[in-house]
């Protein structure tokens, strides 16, 4: 299960709204204990996809990810997964989210931003055999 603190959720939703009508993206930072994860911070990162396609695509470079990993280490936190927004679309993994998924265990938190306002936030995890995403139980503040 993933617990998201008020601070982290606020940052995720604010970044989705700020990026609207484009997709916003970042790292979910926190602690992991067995199967349970607690996200205490959200670190926005640049969406480096071509600007005219950012309404439905995102990309974060390896170099930006490295900086994010180093920031997590500096804070004594782990990278628990990633968050991104779906402007005017459901908070469910798209075909591209699945196609370019990284590893199981990571939380993929998706927030719908409808007409500029963050609405639904859900989380997903890639199956061990990479065949699909399953919804992860989330405890929100």
């Amino acid at each position: 299960m993933l617990t998201i603190t008020q601070v982290a959720l606020g940052a995720i939703r604010a970044h989705g709204e700020a990026a609207y009508p484009n997709e916003g993206v970042g790292l979910l930072l926190g602690t992991a204990d067995g199967e349970g994860k607690t996200a205490v911070a959200a670190l926005p990162l640049p969406n480096t996809w071509a600007p005219d396609e950012q309404a439905n695509r995102y990309q974060v470079t390896g170099a930006d990810m490295l900086r994010g990993e180093q920031e997590a280490a500096r804070l004594g936190l782990d990278v628990l997964g990633f968050f991104h927004s779906h402007p005017d679309h459901p908070a469910e993994p798209s075909r591209w989210d699945h196609e370019w998924a990284t590893w199981p265990w990571y939380s993929y938190v998706i927030t719908t931003v409808a007409r500029g306002r963050a609405t639904v936030t859900r989380s997903w995890q890639l199956r061990e055999d990479r065949s699909a995403f399953d919804e992860e139980r989330v405890q929100l503040p």
Binding site: R57, Y58, T61, G62, M65, V79, S94, W96, T102, W103
Partner: protein
């Protein structure tokens, strides 16, 4: 020996170790040693074609080895490598 830092989601395949000591003279050789020590990592780092998955980045002392000499990049015992994913989606 060279040290490789393992990202959190891959630690279940390294007996929970965050850092692994590996031997070899190049990035390709030390990654080979890593997957020999922990064979379950292989499917998460390499695709069916045997190439590193496109989202897998290897940094040598904070520099992406793709910008150096890729798998042929020389490594020293004092070097530190990090495996970091890049992400994309829609």
């Amino acid at each position: 020996m060279t040290t490789i830092r393992i990202p959190t989601p891959l630690r279940p395949y390294t007996n929970s170790q965050a850092e692994i000591a590996v031997s070899g003279d190049t990035v390709g050789a030390v990654l080979g040693d890593l997957t020999r020590q922990h064979p379950a990592l292989r499917q998460h780092l390499y695709g069916e074609s045997g190439e590193l998955r496109a989202f897998v980045n290897v940094f040598l002392n904070d520099e992406d080895v793709r910008h150096i000499r890729g798998a042929e990049t020389p490594v020293k015992d004092t070097d530190r490598l990090m495996i970091v994913p890049s992400i994309a989606g829609g």
